[in-house]
């Protein structure tokens, strides 16, 4: 069973130093994510979700503890190796899409392949296919500022998946998107997850997102508190009145 884990952290701790003050962000996090999972990290802001995501994605280093992603011990990697790891194994999706404004949708999706030194024709082919799978093939040559938030995020999803990463990390991917589009985005991610068996870890404080994921854990004060059941999420949604909006 251990072989089927894509992410495994042990006693993962992260402390930020702000001058002389130490601010703990993560505290002894033990997380196991099986391959092909669609996991939601749910929790209030400041609970350490994003920090955990950044460490799993090789953007930040833990203060102590271990983190192994797709068989790679991230604590042993240095600058260029981490960049290579992000390039080959990780796809990032951000709250504010972070598309490059001067590039078209197609060029944005091609960009990770430029760094992976994929040939131009192959790049074009894969980028078009990827944009088709997020239903953006009608807007290949539009710049980000000509696209709606939901459309931009679909392009960003295509960009995250185009290098066939083993894990896709999304940080509040729906926070800037209206409810109708949240539904569509989550559906696209569910489809991609089931088709490609790529693992998704989604950080959110939106219960609708949590509901769309196969599994959710709640984080609080830098630790994973527990797993949330589908029933709990459904009840919480009803209690918040969120479901009436769509």
């Amino acid at each position: 069973m251990v072989d089927d884990l894509i992410v495994e952290t042990q006693e993962l701790t992260k402390v930020y130093r702000m001058g002389k003050v130490n601010i703990p962000a993560l505290h002894d996090v033990d997380l196991k994510v099986p391959k092909g999972d669609m996991l939601c990290l749910y929790g209030p802001s400041g609970s350490g979700k994003t920090t955990l995501l950044n460490i799993i994605g090789g953007l930040a280093k833990p203060t102590s503890g271990n983190v192994v992603v797709d068989g790679v011990d991230l604590t042993k990697l240095r600058g260029n190796e981490l960049a290579e790891f992000r390039l080959r194994k990780v796809g990032f999706i951000f709250q504010s899409y972070n598309l490059i404004p001067i590039l078209t949708a197609l060029e944005n999706v091609e960009l990770p392949m430029v760094y992976a030194k994929v040939s131009k024709s192959e790049r074009r082919k894969r980028a078009v296919e990827m944009l088709e799978s997020v239903k953006m093939d009608q807007r290949l040559n539009h710049k980000p500022d000509e696209l709606s938030g939901g459309e931009q995020q679909r392009v960003a999803i295509a960009r995250a998946l185009v290098n066939h990463p083993s894990i896709v990390l999304a940080d509040e991917p729906t926070a800037a998107i209206d409810t109708a589009n949240i539904h569509m985005l989550m559906k696209i991610m569910q489809e991609l997850n089931s088709q490609t068996r790529q693992t998704f870890i989604i950080v959110t404080h939106d219960l609708l997102v949590a509901q769309a994921c196969a599994r959710s854990v709640i984080m609080r004060d830098g630790s994973i508190e527990r797993e949330l059941t589908g029933k709990e999420i459904a009840e919480a949604i009803i209690a918040s009145g969120r479901e009436k909006t769509y």
Binding site: A83, E84, R86, R88, F92, F94, N98, I102
Partner: protein, 423 residues
């Protein structure tokens, strides 16, 4: 190659998104580069002019003039002195060969051209002894026909500018008047045997004839109205070739001693004078280039500033690029490419502006020389491919150097911090 073109296109579009700022930054370097191109061209022009002047001095190791004025008009018309001095100089130990030259202004007419006053009192008539003159100076640079020979009693070699202006070619006949064209003086016909281009404004408008003919044309005195006689044979310049050029100083001393009885005789050692002039020009050019460098440095700081601002604004984009797998080196190359692009553009525009401006100035100074003003001191700047290449290279170099620090900063940004930036 695929990736190179992607990086280049990204850099180019990044510059385009802030057109005004890019334009202003460009302007800074364009000023510097065009200034440098102009200065290089002026330096080149000065050096060429000097070496041409040196050529016009004709490789003569020593020149002798009459008149202190002549010092300012090297190679050209001085006051006359007796032709007998040539033999005296020739006899001085260390002198290999001496030749007399008579130069003066005279009228030259073209046969068959109805308007006769082609160059009234404007043409330099150079009387030379072809054999010794050619031996000492190596001869003028003939571009058509042949050099003047001792047998060409009524032959002439004319400068290319004069040929162009009068439409005269090899075989054409020119004539001048004896006795300076005074009333009743007979004409002397000359057949053009060759056309020369010396690169020196005055000589390119000159007519070279036998020394004895020049003496007929230029040297006369009026006895009474309508009656003129030739003066004793005179010359304006003696060119001396030495057996050993390194002995120039010693021999010139002996010449001065020998001619000490005569007032106004000046002896110049050409190589020394040339060296002094070249030194003066090098210093001047160096000084001008120093000023140009200040402009370049200012332009450089402009690029650094632009790139730093641009990177600051794009912090989150850079974070994104890092997140999707760009290595520090990829970021470095992207930013450096942008800076290099700026330098490339500035280099090209600077070369164009500097080149065109310099050529225009050159035209102006040439036309003023044609009008007879300052023809000795006006400098015609010369643009060579090497100068353009240097200017262009300077632009690119400045771009890359100025881009180094901003690019390094960008490549070292912490991705998490960068992603959090501005949002």
């Amino acid at each position: 190659m695929d990736n190179v073109s992607s990086v280049a296109s990204l850099a180019f579009r990044n510059l385009r998104r802030r057109k005004l700022r890019t334009g202003l930054t460009l302007l800074g370097i364009v000023v510097g580069v065009s200034l440098m191109v102009a200065l290089f061209a002026i330096g080149e022009g000065m050096n060429t002019q000097i070496s041409q002047q040196f050529k016009a001095l004709g490789g003569a190791d020593i020149q002798i003039y009459n008149s202190t004025e002549a010092a300012r008009r090297i190679g050209f018309i001085g006051d006359p002195m007796s032709e007998a001095l040539v033999a005296e100089v020739q006899a001085i130990p260390g002198v290999d060969l001496a030749t007399g030259v008579l130069s003066g202004l005279g009228e030259v007419h073209v046969v068959g051209v109805p308007v006769q006053w082609v160059n009234k009192n404007q043409t330099v008539i150079m009387g030379i002894d072809p054999e010794s003159y050619n031996r000492i100076t190596g001869g003028v640079n003939i571009i058509e026909g042949r050099a003047l020979q001792p047998s060409d009693v009524y032959g002439a070699v004319i400068g290319a500018t004069l040929a162009n202006e009068t439409g005269v070619t090899v075989g054409s006949t020119l004539y001048t008047m004896e006795w300076g064209g005074a009333k009743g003086s007979p004409a002397i016909n000359f057949v053009v045997v060759g056309i020369c281009r010396t690169g020196q404004t005055q000589l390119d408008r000159a007519m070279f004839v036998q020394l004895s003919q020049a003496q007929h044309i230029l040297q006369w005195k009026r006895i009474r109205a309508g009656t003129y006689v030739a003066t004793a044979p005179q010359i304006t310049q003696i060119l001396v070739k030495l057996k050993d050029p390194s002995q120039a100083q010693a021999v010139s001393g002996r010449i001065e001693e020998k001619l000490s009885g005569m007032t106004g005789i000046r002896v110049f050692v050409a190589t020394q004078m040339l060296q002094r002039m070249q030194q003066g020009i090098s210093t001047l050019v160096l000084f001008l280039e120093g000023i140009g460098s200040v402009a370049i440095v200012a332009g450089c700081i402009g690029i650094v500033n632009t790139m730093m601002m641009s990177i600051f604004e794009r912090t989150r984009e850079i974070g994104t690029l890092k997140a999707i797998g760009a290595k520090p080196r990829d970021i470095l190359i992207t930013i450096l490419t942008e800076a290099a692009f700026l330098g490339l553009l500035a280099g090209a525009i600077g070369c164009a502006v500097g080149g065109v401006g310099t050529l225009l100035w050159g035209e102006l100074s040439t036309s003023s020389a044609r009008a007879g003003f300052e023809s000795f001191t006006s400098i015609k700047p010369i643009i060579t491919p090497v100068i353009l290449l240097e200017g262009f290279g300077l632009g690119v170099l400045v771009g890359v150097l100025a881009g180094l620090y901003p690019a390094w900063r960008a490549s070292r940004l912490d991705p998490v911090e960068a992603l959090r930036h501005g949002g």
